[in-house]
Amino acid sequence: MIPYFTRDIVSHFFHYHSNYDMPVIQLKNLSKTYTSDAIEVHAVRNVTLNFGEGEFTAIAGASGSGKTTLLNMIGGIDTPSTGEVWVGPKNIGAMNDKERTAFRRDTIGFVFQSYNLLPVLTAAENVGFIMELQKRPKRETEERSFELLSAIGLSDKLNVRPNKLSGGQQQRVAVARALAHRPKFVIADEPTANLDSASAAGLLDMMQMLNRTEGITFIFSTHDQRVIDRAQRVITFGDGQVQNDEQHDETRNLPQ
């Protein structure tokens, strides 16, 4: 669980009021078709969705349902076969590779199932990595890394490499990395899949806290019921299509 002092620090740094009605991401008739061994695979079929600013959304579904493909297209890692992804006023599909790379670097935070931290960098260096890519001043990067690692209760692990951290700690560092450059939204692909219950709960506490205090839009794929229970909005995905889209009580299951 996230420590109390951490919540205080987070609250101290971030004061934010959500605006769920303002769509920050719009998916319009989005489809993705792969060709594998001459067989067409329809990973995502004609999906139209809006995500509001500050939402904490889970995309639930079984393995192979198209969740990750959808997230990859939202995050500009993958391109749709048909349809459009709009983030604010920008159509990601109309961007060239260079623009999409800059868009991902400046606008989105990514959290991966396998953490994907750079093993040769310390926790603080991993957190500051995207800011380094943005060529932010070294001092600002170091301060932000310390601020975030303190906020997630890892201030004593600044100079520790990932292989000396537990799975839960590594995933927290990965979330801190995703937040360091203050992205508009965070995309997390099965963030709790490799974590035990306690670590998963701690991570969710942290993500929910950051969502509420900093107002960052979180979209994560999961088939973990613990995550689904904590989401403010749950989109159930199956066979590449939206099967259900429901709002939950946003105040329930908040970390105490």
Partner: protein, 404 residues
């Protein structure tokens, strides 16, 4: 930032990097050492030939070098010598008479070139006196003295003060002969010169052949690198001298086989170095391929979170560069140290190479041009080789790479 990351990545698999560095250390050190030893052998052979035989430049009458016609002497040689002496960069000048001869003793005879020299002048352009193993150099006090090589002395069973008969063609075309006495025996590293040359005094040769002027003017330069400029200046001087048909030639033209040997040795050295560097380049290629293979998901992640293609490419190329640079720097340092040590202790060249004019012990000197050449070759090859896996990494689709 990419440089720091590349450096840290280098030590992810320390065993692999250290094995490559050990290979590079030995490879670069051996390449540099071999290049310098080979270059020193070629230079020593050339220097010995230039210092004992040709000097840097020679002037002859046109056509003399073709058949050594004794009538083709240089007119006004004294005046010409004075003018050449005044040319900037000329250190010393010596006149010579030269004739094909047969030298005989009761035991044997050989065909050779009999050279008549002015002992004082000759000592300023050649170092023959330094290679005397017995006796003394020519001087004006001796009676019809000659210098023969140790090899000639062995063939003709000559000792100091032994007599020999030299037969030549005189200026009228008559066969004439004279008796000479051996006053000195020399042994230079230049076996071709030793086998074919007997040295007498110029005035004795003039008496024997009835020629009054020299056939050859040998010119030594203060700095051998001034050769093209000085040669052009003297050639201009010869052209402007009315009625002169003298021609000037450098040691490169006089000793074409040695010039070719120098080029051959350099080529072998460079090829040897290229083979070593290509071998190391393939090691780098193999390592980089493994790196890209091992880090596919990581590269996908880097691209996903916004590292540009150029930055990923540069990071991988830098990793290869750092590895090669580290290996090259340590290998070159070891190579320099080896050359430095061996330049003092010498390296023994065994076998029959001395018959080719190579000294039995070589003292190599470090040539900085080889350090530059090796560094440029290594850098260029690494750039080309590192590009292949780095480009492969760029072609990866982040989505696919993340699934690896």
């Amino acid at each position: 930032m990419t440089t720091q990351l590349a450096w840290k990545n280098l030590w992810r698999n320390p065993t692999r990097s250290l094995v490559f560095l050990a290979a590079a250390l030995i490879g670069f050190a051996m390449a540099l050492f071999a290049l310098n030893v080979m270059k020193s052998i070629a230079e020593q052979r050339l220097n010995d030939a230039v210092n004992t035989q040709t000097s840097h430049l020679q002037i002859h009458r046109e056509g003399f070098m073709a058949d050594k016609d004794i009538a083709l002497t240089i007119d006004n040689a004294d005046a010409l010598t004075s003018r050449i002496q005044a040319v900037s960069g000329v250190s010393a000048v010596a006149k010579r008479i030269s004739s094909n001869a047969v030298v005989a003793t009761p035991e044997n005879s050989i065909a050779c070139e009999l050279k008549g020299v002015n002992p004082v002048e000759e000592r300023t352009v050649t170092v023959l006196a330094d290679f005397l193993t017995e006796g003394e150099f020519l001087n004006d006090e001796q009676k019809t003295p000659v210098l023969v090589s140790k090899r000639t002395a062995d063939k003709l069973k000559l000792r100091l003060r032994s007599k020999l008969i030299a037969t030549v063609k005189d200026v009228r075309g008559e066969i004439v002969g004279a008796s000479f006495r051996v006053v000195g025996i020399f042994a230079t590293p230049n076996s071709v010169f030793d086998d074919n040359t007997v040295i007498a005094r110029m005035n004795d040769m003039q008496t024997l052949t009835s020629v009054s002027a020299p056939h050859e003017i040998a010119i030594k330069l203060t700095n051998p690198s001034d050769l093209p400029r000085t040669q052009a200046t003297i050639a201009e001087m010869l052209k402007s001298k009315v009625g002169s048909d003298g021609e000037i030639a450098s040691w490169k033209a006089l000793l074409p086989e040695l010039f070719a040997f120098d080029g051959f040795i350099n080529m072998i050295g460079v090829l040897f170095t290229i083979v070593i560097i290509i071998g190391l380049g393939f090691s780098i290629l193999n390592i980089m391929n493994m790196i890209v293979q091992e880090r596919t998901r990581e590269i996908g992640m880097l691209r996903a979170i916004g590292q540009s293609k150029a930055s990923v490419f540069w990071m991988l190329v830098q990793e290869a560069f750092l590895l090669m640079a580290l290996g090259a720097a340590s290998g070159i340092a070891l190579g320099c140290l080896l050359v430095e040590v061996v330049s003092k202790t010498g390296i023994s060249i065994s076998g029959g190479l001395t018959t080719l004019g190579i000294r039995p012990v070589i003292y190599p000197a470090l040539n900085p041009a080889f350090v530059v050449m090796i560094s440029i070759l290594a850098a260029a090859l690494t750039l080309v080789i590192a590009m292949l896996p780095a480009l492969r990494a760029l072609r990866m689709n982040p989505t696919t790479a993340l699934r690896e």
